[in-house]
């Protein structure tokens, strides 16, 4: 089992992520089940994927893939995921904000790949609401669960923020107008 955090709770993950082969070939689509397909598969077989009866459909983007490419077909998806090849590759933060703020995606937005505890706070501010934590190497199952539980505290690392974000669309200076003088 994988450690999926959704809406700040650890939950079971029903989704199967499909990936391209090492040679770039597109994966085959299973008959049933919730599937998360790479952008290339969606672009090659959108019609067939839409027509597939059993199971929900999700799409995942690499850091360098432009979310504009799925902006017109958001209705087809129950899940959008953004892959982090390395947690230090910050492109996915912009991808998330664009999906939420520009293209109006309101469904589940999941960070996958090298997703670690110390990035959860910024990721959630940019609009991710689900996080598939990266597996530690050779970590026993119970430790994984424990570290996922510990990671939940990362969402509370900071209780305020200056900037606009998906989480707080107004910057602090506009929210201050509503605050009492003592808080200033």
């Amino acid at each position: 089992m994988k450690n999926l955090i959704r809406h700040k709770k650890i939950v079971a993950d029903s989704w199967q992520r499909l990936e391209r082969g090492a040679d770039g070939s597109l994966p085959t689509v299973p008959v049933a089940g919730d599937i998360l397909v790479p952008l290339a598969l969606w672009q090659a077989a959108a019609g067939a994927l839409r027509a597939r009866g059993a199971g929900r459909l999700g799409v995942w983007l690499e850091g360098d893939e432009d979310p504009a490419q799925i902006a017109d077909s958001l209705d087809a998806f129950s899940l959008i995921a953004v892959n982090f090849l390395q947690f230090t590759d910050g492109r996915g933060y912009s991808t998330a904000r664009l999906l939420r703020e520009r293209y109006g995606w309101t469904g589940e937005l999941r960070a996958i790949g090298d997703v670690q505890r110390d990035q959860l706070f910024y990721l959630s501010r940019c609009g991710f609401d689900a996080f598939l934590l990266a597996d530690g190497q050779d970590v026993p199952q119970e430790d994984l669960l424990r570290s996922a539980q510990a990671a939940l505290s990362a969402f509370d690392d900071f209780t305020e923020a200056y900037q606009t974000s998906v989480e707080r669309p107004l910057p602090l200076f506009r929210r201050r107008c509503f605050a009492s003088p003592e808080q200033q």
Binding site: G90, R91, S94, R97, D157, F158, E160, T164, P171, R176
Partner: protein
């Protein structure tokens, strides 16, 4: 200084708690080195040659005496009794223990300081004119805008993992003293015909391996749009900057590869979505930030103090110092004083804990408790009454902080170099000292006049060698430390990048080479008013090159002649 409000303070406190937990997990083996490195860097913590190095932010170089005392305390308690002021107006401690760093950050937080984003691939400390707010040639006080940028960039969720580090500088005066042309983003605050404030925005400047002068991408950005426009630039860079090669990851490479025109088009397209959005600044917010800056209660004084002019006439040592280290002030009867951290024999930018405490006292007694750190690695007392300059000079002299060399050849900008930094190819500090000793004679220095000499220990260019009138770069030549000399660089309004003179030279040879450059300059200048950089621009590299690299038989002939004369 800018006074934190409750939220400013809370965020800094929460950062301490976060980093304490990260450090605990790292030391317990629950966080790998690879996972810890980026988060510790974003708290200013490097693992250096001998020990960790902690870089503490001094936002836009503004410092209160109480904060300087806290830095002195940190130097004494957790370090070896000194600190190094850097070219980003920050301070670095070279010897803290990793496990002590959370306590150091907690102590900093008690005086409204932190180490947030002083390293790492994120938006770094915003720098500005060290005479901001007091310079007579100021058009717009940049401090308010710097603080707005500080808040916007602090813990910005989208731009914490950029392709590479990102540096912003702001200038609001006629003379650019913030080197805005060699920053990832340079911002020049100005006024339009109606007096409204706006910004000229430059992008893609930088030093390092590929030095570039920034390009103007917007001539006049009205002030309400500052943050949305910055968001647009950063988003284009975050999404499209190169991540495959760290040497090509700075925004300057993206701007060059796209061309500035295409880059501007992309920024404008992004900005079209953000412009007039919630991050658009308001009069109320500018007023609020402005109100949180403490401003000196200046006295009404004569434009020129009689006491001051008499002391100048009476005391040559004082007048020498005043000529170099005292700058005019926008308020009549006041002056801005530079305390030189460039005394011969002391690593450039270093100050002891005792000096820091003493300078804090000077600031309290002479300058409303306020200080500035300059990117030239000196300390400034920005608000001194002219009539008190002589007394201040005497005290500064006793502290070893009155070397009258600002703007002169011995006011060397230098990085810590190979003595401390694990990136360096070569040492900087002993080279700086050897040059200072060679030019120690004050009359000689004054005769040479304005000359910026900058030293970097490696291509990362922390010592800004590209924009020194004379630049010295440490290079590795088959395992040996060598130095490449360039001339013709400059910072400021007429910024330019130095050109390499010729083959690199050994450490011992550096002072001789510099002296030869000066010989050519003194022989060829058309008057004392023509500065070294002017002569280089007029004559080009050739005469300098010829003299430095003249054939050895000629040198031997010279030497024989010198011996005969002796």
């Amino acid at each position: 200084m800018y006074l934190y409000d409750a939220v400013d303070q809370r965020l800094v406190d929460e950062r301490v708690v976060q980093f304490r937990d990260q450090t605990r997990r790292f030391l317990a083996g629950a966080l790998s080195e690879d996972s810890f490195r980026p988060v510790r860097l974003q708290n200013g913590l490097y693992i250096q040659r001998f020990a960790p190095m902690l870089r503490v932010a001094i936002p836009y170089g503004l410092l209160h005496s109480r904060q300087l005392r806290a830095l002195a305390y940190i130097a004494r308690r957790w370090d070896r009794g000194y600190g190094h002021f850097s070219t980003r107006q920050n301070i670095q401690f070279n010897w803290p223990k990793l496990e002590d760093v959370p306590d150091i950050l907690a102590h900093l937080a008690t005086v409204q300081m932190h180490a947030i984003q002083t390293s790492g691939n994120c938006i770094r400390n915003t720098t500005t004119d060290h005479f901001a707010g007091v310079a007579p040639d100021e058009i717009v006080d940049p401090l308010v805008w710097c603080e707005l940028i500080r808040q916007w960039s602090t813990l910005h969720p989208e731009f914490a993992y950029l392709p590479r580090k990102f540096k912003i500088a702001v200038s609001g005066a006629e003379q650019d003293r913030a080197a805005i042309q060699v920053h990832d983003i340079g911002i020049e605050a100005r006024r339009d015909a109606t007096g409204e404030i706006g910004f000229r925005v430059l992008v893609g400047g930088g030093l390092g391996r590929t030095p570039v002068i920034g390009t103007v991408i917007r001539e006049f950005l009205p002030w309400p749009h500052l943050l949305t426009y910055l968001d647009a630039i950063l988003r284009v860079y975050n999404r499209h900057g190169r991540r495959d090669n760290k040497y090509k990851a700075r925004i300057k490479i993206l701007v060059r590869e796209l061309t500035p025109e295409v880059f501007r088009t992309q920024v404008d397209a992004e900005w079209a979505h953000l412009k007039d959005g919630p991050a658009t600044l308001t009069d109320a917010e500018i007023g609020r930030i402005n109100g949180r800056f403490t401003r000196p209660q200046y006295r009404r004084l004569d434009a020129l103090s009689v006491h001051y002019t008499q002391a100048l006439a009476r005391d040559r040592g004082f007048s020498n110092w005043a000529r170099r280290n005292v700058n005019p002030h926008r308020v009549p009867g006041y002056a801005a004083v530079t305390l030189s951290l460039k005394k011969t024999g002391v690593p450039p930018g270093d100050a002891t804990a005792a000096q820091m405490d003493a300078v804090a006292d000077l600031a309290d007694r002479y300058s409303f408790g306020e200080l500035r750190v300059s990117h030239e690695q000196n300390l400034i007392l920005p608000d001194v009454q002219q009539s008190e300059l002589h007394a201040l000079w005497q005290e500064a002299k006793a502290l070893g902080l009155a070397t009258p060399n600002i703007g002169l050849i011995t006011n060397i900008i230098a990085c810590p170099g190979g003595d401390f930094c694990s990136l360096a190819n070569a040492k900087s500090i002993p080279v700086a000292e050897a040059i200072q000793r060679r030019f120690d004679d004050l009359d000689y220095q004054h005769d040479i006049g304005e000359l910026d000499l900058n030293i970097s220990g490696c291509m990362n260019s922390c010592g800004h060698h590209h924009v020194g009138h004379i630049g010295i770069l440490g290079v590795d030549k088959q395992g040996a430390e060598f130095y490449q000399i360039s001339i013709g660089g400059a910072q400021g309004n007429d910024a330019s990048l130095g050109k390499v003179l010729g083959p690199s030279v050994s450490q011992d040879e550096v002072p001789d080479v510099i002296e030869k450059l000066i010989d050519v300059y003194l022989a060829r200048r058309d008057s004392e008013a023509e500065r070294f950089i002017d002569v280089v621009r007029r004559l080009g590299l050739e005469p300098f090159k010829e003299h430095v690299y003249e054939k050895s038989d000629q040198t031997q002939k010279d030497r024989r002649r010198q011996l005969a004369a002796a």
